[in-house]
Amino acid sequence: MHVRNIWFLALATCTEGIRHKALWAIVCLAVLLTMANLGVTTLYSWDLGKVSVEFGLSAVAFTGLLLVFFLGMKILADDLERSRIFMLLSRPVSIWQYLTGKFLGLAMILLLATIILGLSAALSMHYVLWKYPAYVPPNFSWLTYVMALTCQWLSLVVLLAMSVLCFSFASHPFVALLLAVSSYLVGQNMELLRRVVVENPKAGVLTGQENLVVALSWIFPNLSLFDKKYAAAYGMAFIGQEFMLLCLYSISYSALLIYLSTLLFKRKELA
């Protein structure tokens, strides 16, 4: 029954999101952006293959961020602000089923967008790589590209879970958005910060605060781990074991965040 409820909620959220005009506006713009790849690569004289791959994957990443921060948070916020949540919680649906269902529905929307954009980017990349074979990275692999795309989606899923957590305790949707964006920026640079503090004896105000920074690096998601554009662009090795570990990290961390969200959301007054 629990799983069924989560699935129904996820399906309804996905349907609602897919029919949202904002989603298609963002996706259409992103498709145009990936097509612009064809023009952008001609501005360069070397490593056209890497430019093409990186541009395509960056377009997917940027679009995903727009979808998480604007569409995803809007769908969550509308449920509360417009009291749509009452329609669901007046049924035998628990808070954790509601949040999990919403999260999975939004993750499905992100997956759909990633697939569409990934295919669009792949088309333009394929053309560039076909037209300029001398500039194809030596070990370029479509499998690595697909794995990098998957990692991109996993990173967005973690970010989405973080957004759900922020939404579950923030007093206003805009505050939740700010917190989510801040978490993204911290997550992208946490590894950098950790390296700077641990390896550099003169790290400004953070000198001697290695333990604090290491603790923070465990609390905030390490989103830079999911950034495999470099590997895909240069045909670097990306082993299956690392990929599986990233999947496990993403799923477990997201589940943990949703669990925390449930605990916090239960304390919220919904009216």
Binding site: F8, A12, R84, L88, S90, E269, A271
Partner: protein, 248 residues
């Protein structure tokens, strides 16, 4: 002795803190028997919607307890036994009418077979058949109200809780909802609804409760309330004014 459909005991609810503290409900106690139509009336801001939201566990009480068909709200699962219509029914704009009802039915644990029977029946009953596959975002207020009613009835609950079901409707819409409530009463459903439209209360209710500024002023039979003479409106205004003078 049959279990009451709804039982509220010593309910307190406060919003805000410090200087902005607002005592929305104070020691509210109500009992609604099974099969009766119970009107919950009071002026705007009296605490009617707050009471309903506490009943549905959208809010948590500061003190007191609520029970629905013997199930304690906040401890036992009871939502499969109630149907709720909010003051302003809000749905997912991009889902169609049938998709909305399907979602509610599935979440209520109904089987596919039963769903396939009830959805067309309810859509017809609410005169929404032509709008079955239209997205709810394009519905008028009356259509949304009727869809909300269908949504509340989809799983054939024993207890129905309506928060100002006639508000904002045109005369035809109000007539349709009133007729429906009368039909549901004939079917033996318990209906607890809040309203500040006294003529509707007078036409439909067996028993009423009057609430003002979070305090219960009267709970009992409609006839007993009117015993002092005058119309329901006159009696209601008098009760409110007496309460205001007592507070002053």
């Amino acid at each position: 002795m049959t279990i009451p459909a709804i039982e509220i005991i010593g309910l307190d609810k406060c919003f805000g803190s410090g200087r902005k503290k607002n005592q929305a409900l104070h020691n509210l106690s109500l009992t609604i028997a099974q099969g009766e139509v119970f009107g919950f009336l009071g002026p705007n801001g009296a605490g009617k919607s707050t009471t309903i939201k506490l009943l549905l566990r959208f809010l948590k009480p500061d003190n007191g307890s609520l029970h629905v068909l013997g199930n304690t709200v906040g401890h036992d699962e009871f939502r499969h036994q109630i149907g709720y219509l909010s003051e302003v029914p809000v749905f997912y704009d991009h889902l169609t009418a049938i998709e909305t009802l399907l979602l509610s039915a599935r979440l209520s644990g109904m089987t596919r077979q039963v769903i396939n029977q009830r959805i067309p029946m309810l859509l017809e009953r609410m005169t929404l058949t032509e709008a079955t596959n239209r997205r709810v975002g394009g519905f008028s207020k009356g259509m949304k109200q009727r869809l909300g009613m269908a949504n509340a009835l989809i799983h054939d609950p024993e207890v129905l809780i309506f928060d100002e079901p006639m508000s904002g409707l045109d005369p035809l819409g109000r007539y349709q909802i009133k007729s429906l409530i009368a039909e549901l009463k004939q079917e033996g459903k318990t209906i607890f609804f809040s309203s500040h439209i006294l003529s509707d209360i007078e036409a439909l209710c067996d028993r009423i409760a009057v609430i003002h500024k979070g305090v219960l002023l009267y709970s009992g039979g409609l006839g007993d309330f009117l015993r002092g003479g005058g119309s329901l409106e006159e009696r209601f205004v008098r009760v409110i004014e007496e309460a205001d003078h007592a507070c002053a």
